[in-house]
Symmetry: C2
């Protein structure tokens, strides 16, 4: 999708929040805000919003001189998610429809997103789980089930740290030996990288690849040839989170997007109100 | 007060809302947003926030080619306020403490502010009146009462159209023949100008002057010499609304600020939570 005018003020706010999260220095906050305003003033609105996010977080890492300012936050989120998930796994094994239940947990994990909500507590994660298990999921679960059964290779595009722990519950219910989990190619906000996929216990369950890009989404033009080959060859692509929906929503292949709608612009674009849990099947267009 | 970093994303949002309010053309919305982003990227943060507001609204008037794009909105707000106030005036005459009650109505009028809330309905105004009459006013009412009694000249700095109708209730309870009401020198958003002071029925009750400036506040450096003389000579200055608090809060004379706290930055600066109705007495500093 294109960047919407309403994304810009929101993005300026996010830049300020991100600066404050990784540095106590007000000069740093002002610097990143002014940089973002300059870029936003000249932005190509035909690009998806995560392009600006990629630029922001590159610049933030440069300003604070850290390759991965969110490393500790990500580790804490992985631990938090593991602790919450541990209490749910027995339950999952005996569920009437384990795939449906695991899918709901994977959506619940999507609440762990510093891009939208700066602080995530254990109570918030437990509440997200409770709601995800109770509320309807808008979308085509039966279509997804059929496509899973027929797919020889499933490319699972992960989103954030913490969230990726919940993804494991879903990946365990997909056909063994057929899943490739793709993470970001470099640190960006709290997005999951290879280290997080390992921390989530995905090794042995799925092949882990990185997409070669440090965008907080899957911007194909910025991904590695190795990743693009996986993307082209996969029978089924499942993309987690709003960022992946923003960057891949207009692509010319079938993709299942699994996320919680978190902002009014996405709500209008997706056709579901803010807060909706969706499993959205994009149309494969010729 | 200085412009705070948090004012900038909020300001970008306001620019977009203002553009949408006065033009249906998306190209206009994009143009004003990009202009504001460019200015904000280079802004002198030592200036008060209304300096950026002045620039935004000058540019908007230029883009749409209208000298006063909010003229009809202001007239509607004056009518709305007159209709609500008419039902309250009998009550006011028999109040135990008419000055206190009139002061509360003047604060209630401050809810009519397109700068913060795009759409104001009659129900919202009635609710604002109900709350203003019930809730405590933080500040020094007794000090104000004393200063009113001893003042030979009272300079009343008005804020918005609509609101200025409610101001009349207060001005009628100030000593007759001693009040000068100052309005903006030119149209800016829905701020009151001389036409609104007349529509509010202030002629005959008070001397009406304009401040010579089209800022949505009282930026002294931008005001006319005639206004500055009134400002210097007044025994008592009463300033309505957040904008006047932003531009005059650090001035070296005693001023009573009367407003509803509408944003977190002002809340921190004023020391009262968002939503508080305040009559704040600034310190006269040598």
């Amino acid at each position: 999708m294109k960047t919407h005018l309403d994304c810009i003020p929101c993005f300026a706010r996010q830049a300020l929040e991100a600066g404050r999260r990784i540095s106590p220095d007000p000069a740093c906050h002002e610097r990143i805000l002014r940089d973002v305003l300059r870029w936003a003033a000249e932005i190509d609105m035909d690009q998806p919003p995560p392009v600006l996010g990629q630029r922001l977080h590159r610049r933030l890492r440069e300003i604070v001189g850290l390759a991965d300012p969110y490393r500790e936050v990500k580790e804490a989120q992985n631990r938090l998610a593991s602790s919450v998930l541990a209490g749910l796994e027995a339950d999952l094994g005996t569920a009437a429809d384990p795939l449906d239940r695991a899918l709901r947990l994977a959506i619940a994990g999507n609440v762990i997103d510093l891009g939208v909500d700066g602080d995530v507590t254990e109570a918030a994660v437990r509440e997200a789980v409770r709601r995800a298990l109770e509320e309807p999921v808008a979308g085509d679960l039966e279509g997804f089930r059929k496509r899973v059964a027929g797919a020889l290779s499933i490319l699972y595009l992960a989103d954030n740290a913490g969230e990726i722990v919940f993804d494991r519950a879903l990946i365990e219910r997909l056909p063994a030996g057929r899943v490739i989990v793709a993470v970001r190619g470099g640190p960006v906000i709290n997005d999951a990288t290879v280290a997080d996929a390992r921390a989530a216990g995905l090794e042995g369950l799925a092949e882990i690849v990185d997409n070669g890009s440090d965008a907080p989404a899957t911007i194909l033009g910025d991904c590695s040839p190795a990743f693009l080959r996986r993307y082209a060859e996969a029978d089924l692509v499942l993309a987690k989170g709003q960022g992946n929906f923003e960057s891949l929503g207009d692509e010319r292949r079938e993709i299942f997007f699994l996320f919680k709608v978190k902002c009014p612009v996405i709500a209008r674009h997706a056709g579901h109100p803010v807060g909706t849990h969706v499993l959205m099947r994009s149309q494969a267009r010729p």
